[in-house]
């Protein structure tokens, strides 16, 4: 309990210490804070109550199991920084409230890092090093140690005995269902930790990156934000605003992956993205195993 209270007011204590130490009120730029600090400003927004007057903007398309209730979240807008939420939306529990499988998250994250890796480290073996075919001196009589070639691993300039051999590929594929479950677990974790936000559409009033940063600061979304939208076309304003920002990034919905979700603190989805993700991820729960690759046509692919 004592440790939690220290963590809770750590940021406030640092701020007070810094302000007494120098005349600036800002934190020093090289201050490293622990990542599990709780920001009290984020706790003020709670989940929507069941009797909220705001309209339900969209329901779940897929069938929700009888023993589960759909989750509800606020739908916000990016037009004005101090706008109230526009309404509520329902989220499917089988995508946004699955059991938190940290082992699957770890598996998918390590797979994402390693399956593209090709290490080009290569050393020459004693047979590949130039020279060394002739016995340097006679076996007996010279008084020196016996050797068969001047390029054995014992010699300076000789080959490496057990070194890295050639380009090695670390490619492997996790089963499709494991990767899909990893996405669902990541989305559920973001939802459970209050880092998931739903926005009606990505229309910014200006292409100014500072506006976006101020909006995120005002709404206390987090340090880094990943914005996800469906479709090929994005509005010019949001593209220009996020182009030169390092902590705010925008990706299409087909590019959603566990590594990006873990790298960014907050995740912002549009309503269309939520429906798209639910449709695609829930199909894997009720599909047959593939007769032929799913890239070829089936009659009812999502």
């Amino acid at each position: 309990m004592f440790r939690c209270s220290v963590v809770f007011c750590g940021r406030g204590a640092a701020k007070r210490f810094a302000s007494s130490f120098s005349s600036e009120s800002a934190l020093p730029p090289n201050l490293l804070l622990p990542t599990n600090l709780v920001d009290p400003a984020r706790l003020r927004r709670g989940p929507p109550p069941s009797d909220s007057p705001l309209p339900l903007l969209s329901r779940c398309d897929a069938v929700v199991p009888a023993h589960l209730r759909p989750l509800q979240t606020w739908v916000e807008t990016l037009e004005r920084p101090d706008a109230e939420p526009l309404g509520l939306t329902e989220l499917h529990p089988d995508v946004f409230a699955v059991h938190p499988r940290l082992d699957i998250l770890h598996q998918v994250e390590t797979w994402q890092r390693n399956f593209k890796r090709v290490s080009h480290a290569h050393t020459k073996v004693r047979g590949e090093v130039r020279g060394g075919g002739k016995k340097p001196w006679n076996q007996k009589g010279s008084g020196r140690a016996r050797h068969g070639s001047i390029r054995s691993p014992l010699w300076r300039g000789g080959g490496v005995a057990n070194g890295p051999r050639g380009p090695t590929s670390y490619y492997y594929m996790l089963p499709m269902k494991v990767r899909v479950q990893g996405l669902k677990v990541a989305l559920s974790s973001k939802m459970a930790q209050d880092y998931l936000y739903v926005v009606d559409s990505l229309d910014l009033p200006s292409p100014d990156p500072q506006y976006l940063l101020d909006l995120i600061k005002h709404k206390h979304w987090g340090e880094s934000v990943l914005i996800v939208d469906v479709g090929d076309e994005f509005s010019e304003n949001i593209l220009q605003a996020t182009a030169n920002l390092k902590t705010v990034n925008i990706i299409p919905a087909v590019g959603l992956n566990v590594h990006s979700m873990l790298k960014h603190e907050a995740l912002v989805l549009t309503l269309n993205t939520v429906r798209f993700l639910e449709e695609k991820l829930l199909w894997h729960d009720e599909r047959f195993t593939s007769l032929y690759p799913f890239a070829l046509p089936y009659s009812d692919l999502p």
């Binding site: 199991p65 009888a66 023993h67 059991h99 499988r101 082992d103 199909w283 729960d285 009720e286 599909r287 047959f288 593939s290 007769l291 799913f294 046509p297 089936y298 009659s299 009812d300 692919l301």
Partner: protein, 155 residues
């Protein structure tokens, strides 16, 4: 015009009493009349025969059964019973209880897809199997994967 010429030749041959070579008859029959033009047309109405052969990718919902089906399959209840745990059906709408045989003689029964209070399920299963078998069976609860293993084969 060439067809008329060939017909005249054939007629000339027949009048002379010779057998017309079969080749010539075939040549005459297969030659198309020159005043017809071949038109290539595409039609997409026949594609429906291909479309109905493409298989579905989703498992269909089973037809409504009042009570158990002839194979012994029971449909899930419309309202789940008010228990602290829930066991979902598999994607083929079956009960997710699987038997396993390792090392030639080690029998285990695995209950997958558990949601909710898994320890309550473990207590209920132990109690029920004690009445069925007569002794306490060792069970293993895996909270990470939400599965329950019981020693012995129980279908």
């Amino acid at each position: 015009m060439a067809a008329c010429l060939n017909l005249a030749l054939r007629g000339a041959f027949l009048s002379q009493g010779r057998n017309v070579p079969a080749v010539w008859i075939r040549f005459v029959c297969n030659h198309p009349p020159e005043n017809m033009k071949t038109v290539i047309s595409e039609s997409t109405e026949e594609y429906k025969f291909v479309e109905r052969l493409i298989p579905p990718s989703r498992v269909p919902t089973p037809p409504k059964h009042a009570g158990p089906a002839p194979s012994g399959w029971t449909p899930p209840a419309d309202t789940p019973p008010p228990l602290p745990y829930m066991i979902r059906r598999s994607r083929m709408h079956n009960i997710p209880v699987y038997t396993d045989l390792t090392h030639g003689s080690r029998k285990t029964t695995l209950v997958r897809k558990v949601e909710g209070d898994i320890w309550a399920l473990e207590n209920d299963v132990k109690q029920y199997l004690k009445e069925v078998v007569g002794k306490e069976l060792p069970t293993q609860v895996n909270e990470v994967t939400m599965t329950l293993k019981v020693k012995g084969h129980f279908d």
